[in-house]
């Protein structure tokens, strides 16, 4: 590891000044950054600890029902937050898959997203809930969909002066459920060979009026499976329908072959996990009254 400077700002304003003119990396939990620095995969002149910045810490419900989660909130804090568990169960359960219990105590939602690994476990659930990222930089503030944040493996839209401050999860409609599942050879301490998050919202007649299918580890960035969502829209949940959605999602994926799995196997896993997450969400809404 090379030598670097270290700062601990106490406000976003101080953070933006520190970030303005150097090759700086933000340290939240450090579960990605520290190994990257140690192994020489990233070099930093300055490391900025963001855990002392109030705006980036804490979970709060806004007036319109939006849940705001600071970028430096730990996976464990989200997994144990009652509002997150009640309204955004797929997120609360997916952050509990990151690394091990010890890693989850340190790792943060902002870190998992900004590290921008295609395999990041928290991202498909955020995409499913139409989460927004609140960003601040030299040119001011902006909000964009988490889905639009990623430009490639390890790369985001953030410009060098910008910082992701928090996530905004909009209030979900009645009769909405979501699930995230990943496939790993090991049961913990592993990286998804493929991961799928699915959300469906049903109308009073039980028809699917909104659907999101988001994929991890099967493309250069986390992906939305648009054709799988098309298959689901305006239909009633059924195993047959989810089978078709799975086939479509596999086609939406663009995986590579690497040490974690072949492209062909990953596509197959997408179809399996798509079916399973849709069935899980439907079970939550309809118990066993569907087939």
């Amino acid at each position: 590891m090379e030598l670097f400077n270290f700062q601990t700002p106490s406000s976003v304003a101080e953070l933006l000044i520190a970030k303005a003119n150097t090759n700086a990396w933000l340290l939240a939990g450090g579960t990605d950054l520290i190994p990257q620095l140690k192994e020489g995969r990233r070099k930093a002149d300055l490391v900025i600890d963001i855990k002392k910045i109030p705006a980036m810490n804490g979970i709060s419900e806004l007036e319109d029902g939006t849940l705001r989660i600071g970028a430096a909130v730990s996976a464990t804090a989200i997994a144990q937050n009652v509002d997150a568990i009640r309204s955004y169960a797929a997120l609360a359960s997916s952050v509990a898959l990151i690394g091990s219990r010890q890693v989850q105590n340190r790792a943060t939602l902002g870190g998992n997203v900004c590290n921008a690994a295609p395999s990041a476990d928290a991202i498909p659930a955020l995409i499913c809930y139409d989460a927004m990222a609140e960003i601040e930089g030299a040119e001011g503030k902006r909000e964009i969909l988490v889905e639009d944040l990623f430009t490639g493996p390890g790369r985001t839209q953030l410009n060098p002066t910008e910082v992701l401050i928090s996530f905004l999860l909009p209030l979900q409609s009645e009769r909405t459920a979501a699930a995230y599942q990943r496939f790993t050879p090991r049961r913990e301490m592993d990286i998804a060979v493929a991961g799928v998050g699915s959300r469906i919202s049903l109308d009073a007649d039980g028809k699917i009026i909104a659907a999101r299918v988001a994929l991890a580890s099967v493309g250069p960035t986390p992906l939305r499976a648009a054709s799988a969502e098309c298959v689901l829209m305006d239909e009633s949940p059924s195993s047959q329908l989810f089978e078709e959605a799975g086939v479509a999602a596999a086609q939406d994926a663009s995986p590579i072959s690497d040490t974690r799995g072949s492209a062909e196997y990953r596509r197959h896993l997408v179809s399996v996990l798509c079916k399973r997450t849709l069935a899980s969400a439907t079970n939550e809404l309809l118990q066993d009254t569907w087939t």
Binding site: S100, D190, T259
Partner: protein
């Protein structure tokens, strides 16, 4: 002598030390982190070393320029192969019943002329801190002439394959060839005529398998501290399975007499066969000599996996086996290739034993080839080659029992080796309990309880394992303290509870409590030569040495007591710390009083040693239940039971721990652990994230069933324990999978993707 001791130490008798369930006597410091490993060890003025490693899998080293690195402020020494004497291949030092090629070990420490794998060391630096050492590595300029490379047995044995060694010719061929080759040797075991016997069998099975290279997965990376003092003595503080071997080998690699090197073993954080050879100890010693400061060298995890240590051999092979309708094996024929990595001489003979040990056959033809490839030189791993070979043999046995429509346990029983049957090498088996283990399995609920249905396919697997182990030599000595308590110094390191089990033996011999005996490992200059802690040998052979030393010390004490009591030694008996006459009311004297009266008349120092103890042949049987996700191919092991004949369990929890640990390691390799090399010869999964050792969540509850059939001529009848419980694991899982889904998985590890492919292939 040992028969008497066995009689005295009847496992069912009344003993308060041996056979008792005891925690390790040194568990406190291990659990709290107080135990000192080389990475914890500090000396005043110590500096830090890093190795420059080859980026190429196969290349000639044209030149090495270290001048820029030496100019960097804070760099104290740089070394390359030029600082070491050039050894000839085959330069040997003794190791166990064989020898160790010091040229080969030298190449593992520092490449000369040529590199044979990615990660082989080519230069090293010592600097005042690690950052400077790392920067200095980048300033070392090396010119390579890159050569074509081979990364698998198939590539290495292809007709136009580039040869790693111009001089290599296959030994053991019926018709010798004079062409350069990557096949180092051919080993054959045969009797009868297996081809005609196979043709005349009622049922036959032919099976081919491939096993990937795997790593021992010890948690402590290689690490060493070296000091070269002003009087010319080099001291190494090491993590090793054998400090005498470290001393022998390091002295030869450095070209110094053994009087100028002392090796101090610190705690070892796992070895499993991978810490027998040295992996940088000689380099740290050379740097310490060159810079005059103590040097610490610690490998990173990536270095350990990416060519810095020896993983264990990949293997591929084919087996044909035939039997009559009534389930009697007629013939076994097998051909295996072992991937030794970049340096030759990974003898496949030890692996071939697995095909011909548990079951008897009149017709046998076993052929093993040792192949070099441009990958790290492989080293031993817990019953080296056993799990790979059993993955082939025990699957074939299972398949054949299915074809014969015979219970797999009954099929094994009909062909089982018994005491006196023929061993692979043709000699008669010493005491072996295959039938007893089969009886124990047959009566156990893990085998008799029907498998519960699940939402996914389930199956129950059975596999047996065999490992011979060996004995080699062990030494210790004992002195008697001023208060009459025995103080033992052992020649072996404690890799799996040896200090505790030897304290038990010493306490039993002196009829004292565990707290009354002291047991420690001596460094290479303070105790007699002892072979490596390997081959399931330490407890058996060191117990024999401790008993030997104890008997001698008790005899000396008795002589002194007799003198003091004005009696003859024959008139005295020893009983729980006192010498007394046969008459209950007669005089007695404690050992404490004997020593109080005679301490200044001269020390009692008694030695014990053991060599050529009878083999403690190990046999085990494993049963497991698995569930296979039919959509993904993922195997979940639901339940696992391991049966093993241990001769006698000196400390049952230590024995159970060896078995449980072996099963966990076996499950790792069976399901998720395997080296994945890219086309550039680099390991693609050189981290513990992608080299998937199982976590606690991946391992089921493991039950152990200990059988105790003593080995004659060995103290307490002890058998080897630590190796055989890994042997059957992968085959046991594979047999369970085959019974669950109807397909055999012939590639190991049986990753989800491979299982899925096997399920969907048909």
């Amino acid at each position: 002598m040992f028969e008497e001791i066995i009689a005295h130490a009847d496992p069912h008798g009344d003993h308060d030390t041996i056979g008792r369930r005891l925690p390790r006597i040194d568990s406190g410091k291990r659990v709290t982190g107080e135990a000192i490993y080389p990475a914890d060890f500090q000396l005043p003025g110590m500096v830090y070393a890093k190795l420059k490693r080859s980026p190429h899998p196969h290349a000639k080293i044209r030149s090495i320029d270290t001048s820029k690195a030496m100019e960097l402020a804070g760099v104290l020494a740089v070394t390359t192969a030029d600082d070491f004497p050039e050894l000839e291949p085959g330069t040997a030092v003794p190791m166990g019943q064989g020898s160790c090629d010091v040229w080969m070990v030298g190449q593992i420490n520092m490449a000369r002329h040529k590199v044979f794998w990615v990660g082989q060391p080519v230069a090293a630096v010592a600097a005042i801190d690690l950052h400077i050492a790392e920067q200095a590595l980048e300033l070392i300029k090396i010119e390579y002439e890159v050569l074509d490379a081979v990364f698998s047995i198939d590539e290495a044995t292809a007709p136009a394959a580039p040869a790693l060694y111009d001089s290599m010719r296959t030994t053991g061929l019926d018709t010798p060839s004079n062409k350069p080759t990557n096949v180092c040797s051919r080993t054959v075991f045969k009797r009868g005529n297996s081809d005609s016997a196979l043709a005349n069998s009622d049922e036959t099975v032919e099976l081919s398998i491939k096993v990937d290279t795997a790593h021992q997965g010890y948690i402590e990376p290689q690490s060493v501290v070296a000091q070269h003092d002003r009087d010319g003595l080099t001291t190494l503080w090491v993590s090793t399975q054998g400090h005498f071997t470290t001393e022998l080998v390091t002295a030869r690699v450095l070209g110094i007499p053994q009087s100028k090197i002392r090796v101090v073993p610190l705690e070892i954080g796992g070895g499993f066969g991978g810490k027998v050879f040295i992996h940088g100890e000689s380099v740290a010693a050379k740097l310490a000599e060159k810079c005059g400061r103590p040097v610490q060298l610690i490998f990173s995890r990536e270095e350990v996996l990416q060519g810095g240590s020896g993983p264990t051999a990949a293997l591929q092979g084919k087996l044909e086996i035939g039997a009559s309708k009534d389930g009697v094996i007629n013939a076994i024929k097998s051909r295996i290739h072992v991937d030794a990595g970049g340096l030759p001489d990974m003898n496949p003979g030890i692996i071939l034993q697995v095909f011909a040990a548990l079951y008897q056959t009149p017709n046998l033809f076993l052929e093993g080839f040792d192949v070099v490839t441009n990958k790290p030189r492989t080293e031993a791993y817990r019953a080296p080659g056993g799990i790979q070979a059993a993955f082939l043999m025990e699957q074939a046995i299972d398949e054949l029992s299915q074809k014969l429509e015979m219970d797999p346990l009954e099929f094994r029983r009909r062909n089982a080796s018994v005491t006196g049957s023929t061993m692979p090498a043709g000699t008669p088996f010493p005491s072996i309990g295959v039938l007893e283990i089969a009886d124990a399995v047959a009566a156990h609920p893990c085998w008799t309880t029907p498998l519960k249905e699940g939402s996914m396919p389930r199956g129950r697997g059975l596999a047996f394992g065999y490992w011979r182990g060996t004995s080699m030599t062990s030494a210790c000595h004992v002195t008697i303290s001023g208060d009459g308590r025995p103080m033992f110094t052992l020649g072996s390191v404690d890799i799996s509870g040896a200090h505790t089990s030897m304290a038990q033996v010493a306490a039993e011999q002196f009829q004292m409590s565990l707290d009354d005996v002291y047991v420690a490992t001596g460094d290479s200059k303070s105790v007699g030569y002892t072979d490596i802690a390997a081959a399931s040998r330490v407890t058996r052979t060191m117990a024999a040495a401790v008993i030997d030393a104890s008997q001698a010390a008790l005899a000396e004490l008795k002589k002194r007591a007799a003198n003091l009591m004005q009696l003859t030694a024959e008139e005295l008996t020893y009983d729980h710390g006192s010498f007394r006459t046969a008459n209950d009311n007669g005089p007695s004297m404690t050992v404490a009083d004997v020593m109080k009266a005679t301490l200044t008349q001269g020390a009692i120092i008694c030695q014990g040693s053991s060599s050529n103890l009878p083999f403690g042949v190990e046999v085990g049987a494993h049963v497991c239940d698995v569930e296979v996700d039919k959509d993904t191919g993922q195997i979940t092991v639901l339940k696992y039971t391991a049966f093993q004949d241990v001769g006698f369990a000196l400390n049952p929890p230590a024995v159970e721990g060896q078995i449980e640990g072996s099963v966990v390691q076996g499950l790792g390799w069976a399901i998720s652990e395997g080296f994945d090399y890219g086309s550039d010869g680099r390991l693609r999964n050189a981290s513990l994230l992608d080299y998937r050792i199982p976590t606690a969540l991946d391992v089921p509850s493991i039950d152990t069933v200990l059988l105790q059939k003593p080995v004659p001529g060995v103290p307490y009848g002890l058998r080897g324990v630590g190796e055989v419980p890994i042997v059957p694991v992968a085959a046991c899982v594979a047999n369970a999978v085959a019974r669950a889904v109807g397909n055999r998985v012939t590639q190991m590890p049986m990753t989800p993707e491979r299982v899925f492919k096997a399920m969907t292939a048909s």
